[in-house]
């Protein structure tokens, strides 16, 4: 059994409510932090833990916190990014729905560490029922003296507000989120200045993912050093993975980052394999914007090593043969799935969600969608594949925010690894609308590269 830190008490009935949560050791970490530690000590613990941002980029949280500018007389803000809109990712939803107090406690400790007296939870509008759960939890925490003025007699004040988004993927980008929180159009800001210097209302701001902030609670409970013993290498601690697609047991799993991808897909403790005896074709291990990998590259790296569920191992080989941990939206495709159709569907999503501020993303995402739609419907040309490659190359890196990259990577990876499937769609247009390409050679073992002496 993998060890758990976040969801270890998720099975307890009524853990959503304050009394049960408190009875099961809740708010102990907050008590410890507020009463016996200084803000710098909390930050130091988080640094020691090696916790990396769980929203997708994997930036070390402690380091991010230490970048926060602390000018005198200017308020600082902590913003919790609960705008979880990445296709395939639904881990934060689970946390907020079932253990909201874990997030509140994490927010309390983090706000204390950062010196923020006002903290916002920006939640995506589609999670329409969760704000009620969070607000109830906030009200209960207030009633029991964990929020408001002079918390538990320590002199620290904190108020948490829940703000609903209006249904835009782009508002998960931290500066767009801040704009939206200020009541403006959710366009990403041009950086620099970074939010750590000028964020919400031009004040220093830290924006963290829900899971990151929740993970602060076990870090304080067991100590940063102990936390860093979970996982492997620089991928410390546990990670929530939301598994979906062709799996026997899709759902949210907390993994200790020391298991292999193969174990995660096939073991009964986790996803339990692929239904109906189908074979694995491809997988997107970190939410829709990370590169897709064929089965042979997913289970083993190009060097022939077993691929593990860690930041480094998933990234092994760079974009040529690797992928990314991303936000942990683990999407599995079996042999009956069409990669072209799948890529088209993602391109359609990014086209729909582009904010339209900068030209490469505004125009390029729509173009890619239209070309992919043609290929999918058997109207493509061979030159379209090269055209797609060229479009994605001209979007990537040339945009204001990472949405352009996120739109370009899936297309690039699909063409890189599944080019023959695209070509088959072009050369067999009638067949392509009727049946799928199938597994082809995508699960064949890779030729072992002889070590260069």
């Amino acid at each position: 059994m993998g060890r758990k830190l976040l969801l270890d008490k998720a099975h307890i009935e009524g853990i959503r409510y304050y009394d049960v949560y408190r009875k099961n050791g809740g708010y102990a970490a907050a008590e410890k932090a507020l009463k016996s530690m200084s803000p710098d000590q909390v930050t130091e613990e988080v640094k020691k833990s090696g916790l990396r941002g769980r929203g997708g980029a994997g930036f070390p949280t402690g380091l991010k916190w230490s970048f926060l500018a602390k000018p005198e007389g200017v308020p600082r803000y902590l913003v919790c990014n609960a705008d979880e809109s990445e296709p395939g990712t639904f881990k934060d939803r689970y946390l907020m729905e079932f253990i909201p107090h874990l997030l509140i406690e994490g927010l309390l400790i983090s706000s204390f560490a950062l010196g923020a007296n006002r903290t916002y939870i920006y939640i995506r509008g589609e999670y329409a029922w969760i704000p009620d759960i969070l607000e109830e939890a906030i009200a209960d925490a207030h009633k029991n003296g964990w929020l408001g003025k002079n918390i538990q007699g320590t002199g620290f004040d904190l108020d948490i507000y829940v703000q609903r988004g209006a249904g835009a993927y782009i508002c998960g980008e931290e500066t767009a989120l801040i704009e939206s929180l200020e009541g403006k159009r959710g366009n990403p800001r041009i950086k620099p200045p970074f939010p750590a210097v000028k964020g919400l209302w031009q004040s220093p701001t830290v924006v963290n993912n829900v899971e990151t902030l929740a993970a602060v609670v076990p870090i304080i409970n067991i100590g940063g050093d102990e936390y860093s013993k979970f996982g492997t290498g620089k991928s410390t601690g546990t990670k929530l993975i939301s598994a979906c697609g062709n799996l026997n047991k899709p759902g949210v799993y907390e993994i200790d980052m020391s298991i292999s991808v193969e174990e995660f897909i096939y073991s009964d403790e986790y996803c339990g394999g692929i239904p109906n005896g189908k074979r694995l074709k491809a997988c997107i291990p970190g939410g829709s914007s990370v590169p897709i990998l064929p089965a042979n590259l997913l289970l083993k790296t190009a060097k022939g090593e077993t691929r593990m569920m860690t930041y480094e191992s998933l990234n092994d080989g760079g974009f040529a043969t690797g992928t990314m941990m991303g936000s942990g939206g683990f999407i599995v495709l079996d042999e009956d799935q069409c990669v072209v159709r799948h890529t088209m569907s993602l391109a359609r999503f990014y086209h729909h969600e582009s904010c339209g501020q900068c030209s490469p993303c505004r125009e390029g995402t729509g173009w890619m969608k239209k070309v992919l739609l043609n290929i999918e419907n058997g109207k493509g040309k061979m030159s379209d594949i090269d055209l797609l490659w060229d479009i994605q190359r001209k979007i990537e890196g040339n945009t204001i925010c990472p949405l352009g990259d996120a739109a370009a990577w899936p297309v690039a990876a699909a063409i890189r690894h599944f080019r023959d499937e695209f070509e088959w769609h072009v050369t067999n247009p009638e067949e392509a609308v009727k049946r799928n390409f199938g597994l082809a050679h995508y699960a064949d073992p890779l030729p072992v590269v002889a070590a260069v002496v």
Partner: protein
């Protein structure tokens, strides 16, 4: 007394220049001038917060600064990136930049209608210049372009959203020059549009006409001058008047033909930016030469198509019609019929033997 200010040494395309701290790469390049200046479609030095959106001014920073010589990982928007001491920037010396810029131009033209032959902006259009200098001659886009209905936003301004490249300049203009912004961006992605929410008029302030001048394309045009003449047939003349509005500089360019003023605009520099903003009264209502003190012909760059109609002295063009027509008045209103008097659809030309003759077209409507 003069306090010694530390200047930053910057190299752009290997040309050294010293600028004040806080200057952007684009403005440093403008100090050098010439070919190293990156093109800018959305940046406007007079408008705060503009820039960073069109991505045409992307440059490569090959050395961050003396203190931290690492290059920047991505191309950066030169209009929004400030220089550091010892920074080295590559613009036209970097093939990567040129290629990215070519890509951006292609993206900008993707949904642009390219209706230059009927567009009032043609001849003074930033996008036209940009695509001429940095674009390719053919498009690879094979799909329908997005279109919008033309819209009258106020008495004097026409919005032709189909041509818009979403530079946001007009939004900044309305924010910073007027105290009542009525228009903004609606929608998102490639279907986002500049508009007023539920057909509002923009005419409520006296400075909104400047959105026409800041618009880099023909999306916002002057309804008092629309379709009246092509810019290269008009003669730009510097003029000024005593304007009662304290915020209006009163210094304008009159676009004239003979004694007639077709259009009044602010004075634009070589980067297409106005020198100072003018009020709507000057722009839309003073179309009589008597209202103005004419200073003389405006200097127009040689490469501009406008320079073809540029001649010194305010002379009325010599009218030749009267001479050609022996003193008769020209028939100004042509009688254009929906059905030709000569051609008759009932007569099938392919059935007529030999060349058609007037006899083949009987006067009484086809009845033989």
């Amino acid at each position: 007394m003069a306090e010694e200010k530390k200047l930053f040494k910057v190299k752009i395309d290997n040309i050294p220049v010293e600028v004040e701290p806080g200057t952007t790469i684009l403005n440093a390049a403008r100090l050098i001038g010439g070919d190293v200046v990156p093109p800018a479609m959305c940046y406007y030095s007079k408008l705060q917060g503009s820039g960073g959106k069109c991505r045409t001014c992307l440059v490569k920073v090959s050395k961050g600064s003396d203190a931290d010589p690492r290059p920047m990982p991505k191309l950066v928007a030169s209009c929004r990136t400030t220089v550091m001491d010892g920074m080295e920037v590559a613009n036209i010396t970097s093939p990567e930049v040129l290629e990215a810029r070519k890509g951006v131009v292609e993206f900008l033209l993707l949904n642009h209608p390219l209706d230059c032959p009927v567009c009032d902006q043609a001849g003074e259009c930033d996008l036209q210049d940009l695509s001429y200098e940095h674009g390719v001659s053919a498009t690879r886009y094979e799909f329908k372009r997005r279109t919008f209905e033309k819209e009258d936003i106020g008495e004097h301004i026409k919005l032709h959203m189909t041509r818009c490249i979403l530079c946001y300049r007009c939004v900044f203009t309305a924010d910073q020059l007027t105290n009542n912004r009525q228009h903004g961006i609606l929608g998102r992605g490639d279907h986002s549009e500049i508009s007023t929410y539920i057909k509002a008029s923009l005419d409520q302030t006296n400075f909104i006409g400047n959105v026409i001048d800041v618009c880099p394309v023909g999306a916002l045009t002057d309804r008092t001058a629309r379709f009246k003449n092509r810019v290269w047939f008009l003669k730009p003349v510097d003029a000024h008047r005593e304007c009662h509005d304290p915020n209006c500089c009163g210094k304008t360019v009159l676009w004239m033909r003979g004694d007639e003023i077709f259009r009044v605009t602010a004075r634009k520099d070589k980067y297409g930016e106005v020198e100072a903003f003018i009020c709507d009264t000057c722009r839309f209502e003073k179309k009589d030469v008597k209202d103005w003190v004419v200073e003389g012909p405006r200097k127009v760059a040689r490469y501009s198509v406008i320079s073809q109609g540029h001649y010194v002295g305010v002379h009325k063009p010599h009218e030749t019609v009267a001479k050609v027509m022996d003193g008769r008045q020209p028939k100004l209103l042509m009688d254009i019929h929906s059905v030709s008097e000569v051609n008759q659809p009932a007569v099938d030309l392919s059935k007529i033997e030999g060349p058609a003759h007037s006899n083949d077209f009987p006067k009484n409507n086809g009845a033989q």
